[in-house]
């Protein structure tokens, strides 16, 4: 068979054309995703930035949410994050240490732990919320009330501590995944050198592995915090309240939360239109917080990766 010059140029042209079409359609999907994201950011920014003043951030809501600020919701969210992280971060880090340093990859126990963390991260957050209600609020809270308060209702109701614990189940897998990545990046020869000097495994982990992985652990912490700031479903029945005249003063109090505040204002308030600017501004605040946390995490992780391969 003879191949003519213009056959080759046709084929070349076809290749070029297919290449360009593929290039454009693939690029288009990237642009669609990024565009969608940018539109959300800009719409919420434009809708909300005028409303954000110092007063808005430091005043409680007034006149049925139509005036005033979101101070209690911000404080409530911060308290929630603190309670959540107190439980989720240590547990997450230690589970990650087990998975990277102790577990044998083919043992049953390792596979169960690994699979549990995967499952935990894929259970719908609303189901986690149900679990929080059934286990923490009704069961644990009920037992505490029965044993210490003679049946008076103190802990067996939605409360900051139960919301924090429930949210902990949501943010723990995030912490595990991030910390695990950091621990796996610690070079084996460092650990071997430590063992060779006579250090036990505990000493090696505490004095060599963890300090070396500290930036990665920080990433895990930030991502965990970001996750627990943004979620609403786990705290719907375990502690969030629509409006409270006082800031929570004890772990057994209910609290206001930014995400829950947005949800209530936009779907259940009496006058949705009157609160619209406040809704946009509240969403912008929430978006701003999670956004900053995530950018921080990305920057920290980038530094970590650079150090690793340098």
């Amino acid at each position: 068979m003879e191949i003519k010059d213009n056959d080759i140029s046709t084929i070349k042209f076809r290749y070029k054309l297919d290449d360009v079409i593929t290039h454009i359609s693939l690029l288009l999907s990237v642009l669609l995703i990024v565009g969608f994201f940018v539109v959300i950011l800009s719409v919420i920014f434009v809708g909300g930035y005028e409303k954000i003043t110092w007063e808005f951030l430091t005043q409680p809501p007034e006149e049925g949410m139509t005036k005033g600020g979101i101070f209690p919701a911000i404080i409530g969210t911060i308290l929630l994050v603190i309670v959540t992280s107190t439980f989720a971060v240590p547990l997450g880090i230690i589970t990650a240490i087990y998975l990277t340093e102790y577990g044998k990859k083919d043992s049953f126990f390792y596979r169960f732990v690994n699979e549990s963390i995967n499952l935990l991260s894929s259970i719908p957050t609303i189901v986690i919320g149900l679990f929080g209600l059934a286990f923490f609020v009704i069961y644990i809270g009920g037992v505490i009330d029965k044993v210490f308060y003679g049946g008076n209702l103190n802990w067996g109701k939605p409360a900051l501590i139960w919301a924090g614990l429930t949210m902990g189940l949501v943010s723990m897998p995030v912490v595990v995944t991030a910390v695990r990545e950091a621990l796996e990046a610690v070079p084996a020869n460092l650990k071997e050198a430590s063992f060779a000097l006579g250090a036990t495994k505990m000493e090696t982990i505490l004095k060599v592995v963890l300090p070396r992985a500290s930036t990665g652990i920080l990433t895990g912490l930030i991502l965990g915090i970001s996750r627990s700031t943004g979620e609403v479903a786990p705290v719907l029945f375990t502690g969030a309240a629509y409006f409270l005249p006082h800031l929570p003063s004890s772990l057994s109090n209910q609290f206001m939360e930014l995400g829950y505040h947005i949800y209530i204002m936009s779907t259940q308030s009496v006058d949705v239109d009157a609160t619209l600017p406040i809704q946009f501004a509240t969403t912008l605040v929430l978006l701003g917080i999670t956004f900053l946390l995530n950018i921080l995490a990305i920057l920290v992780r980038r530094r970590l990766r650079k150090n690793e391969y340098a």
Partner: protein, 315 residues
């Protein structure tokens, strides 16, 4: 001199012993915390089942919440004759899932293909962090956007009768599941042996050949498991759906432009109205248990599909 040396050895010996004991305690501590994550999962399943079991325990199953009622086509929990048909809720969840997966899959997979075949390193360094940022976007923010702006926009474009419907919710959920689908696909594409791609180029293949005939098929097992994981997320997604789909239980299986209500949003919006331990409460835990089991099944299937396709294709 001699006695001093033996004393040193003795101290050293006890020190080593102490260290060994500390190490052992530490190991036990780590293992018990690791054990806790297994217990947590079992607890989640057990406690949700326990509350759902009130249906039988308190005899609700012989009252309104009988099996015929539970699998009927009407969800009307607050009425003289409460109706607890979960079929419309399942239909709602399936519809949101379908829309979300149909929208998210091509976008996520094509974007991953773009990043692994076409994009320059510079663009890669921009696109991947943006996807990470999207992953960090709270679902309440997406829901709020779809409710306030997205729904009106889509209604103006397509002229739907209902502003809030399954498609609006599904599009919002799609954005929430794109990052996880993208990440899994892109990871798989990145782990394809470089030699495979380079030999294709050496044979004169153009980039679109490499994209469609090498990179995409090689990552197929991961892409399928990513789709199933995304579907699982979409099936249980709560806040976006709660805000953007109109929240009313409808049965029409093929009409995507009517308001819907899913299992998750029913739990979210009705749990606040019930008394602990009453019939409605038990039914809500029952549908929560259904949701949990479906999610666990999705995960099993995702793992299974991954292994099956991998063994079939040998990649």
């Amino acid at each position: 001199m001699k006695s001093k040396m033996s004393f040193n050895l003795k101290v050293k010996g006890s020190l080593i012993k102490r260290k060994k004991i500390a190490d052992l305690i530490w190991k036990g501590f780590i293992y018990s915390i690791a054990l806790m994550s297994i217990l947590l999962i079992l607890f989640v399943i057990f406690f949700i089942f326990r509350e759902a079991f009130l249906l039988v325990d308190k005899g609700y199953i012989n009252l309104h919440a009988n099996l015929k009622n539970l699998f009927s086509y009407v969800w009307q929990p607050v009425s003289v004759e409460p109706k607890y048909g979960i079929i419309p809720l399942l239909v709602g969840s399936l519809k949101v899932m379908t829309v979300a997966v149909l929208v998210a899959t091509p976008l996520a997979v094509f974007a991953a293909l773009y990043v692994s075949v076409y994009s320059s390193n510079f663009l890669k360094e921009i696109i991947k962090p943006i996807i990470e940022l999207i992953a960090g976007l709270p679902s309440i923010v997406i829901g709020f956007f779809m409710l306030m702006v997205g729904a009106t926009f889509l209604q103006n474009v397509f002229g739907w009768d209902f502003r809030l419907n399954a498609i609006v919710g599904g599009v919002g959920v799609a954005l929430a599941i794109i990052p996880v689908m993208f990440t899994i696909s892109e990871d798989a594409m990145r782990s394809i042996p470089k030699s495979l791609i380079e030999s294709a180029y050496a044979l004169g293949a153009s980039r679109h050949h490499v994209a469609w005939k090498i990179v995409l098929p090689s990552a197929l097992s991961s892409i399928f498991s990513a789709i199933i994981l995304g579907a699982s997320r979409a099936f249980g997604e709560t806040m976006i759906v709660l805000m953007a789909t109109g929240n009313s239980p409808t049965m029409d299986l093929f009409n995507f432009t009517i308001p819907i209500r899913t299992i998750s949003t029913t739990i979210a919006s009705e749990m606040g109205e019930v008394q602990v331990g009453d019939e409605h409460y038990a039914v809500l835990f029952f549908i929560g248990f259904v949701l949990l089991i479906v999610t666990l099944l999705f995960n099993l299937i995702s793992n299974w599909v991954y292994k099956y396709i991998k063994s079939k294709l040998g990649v």
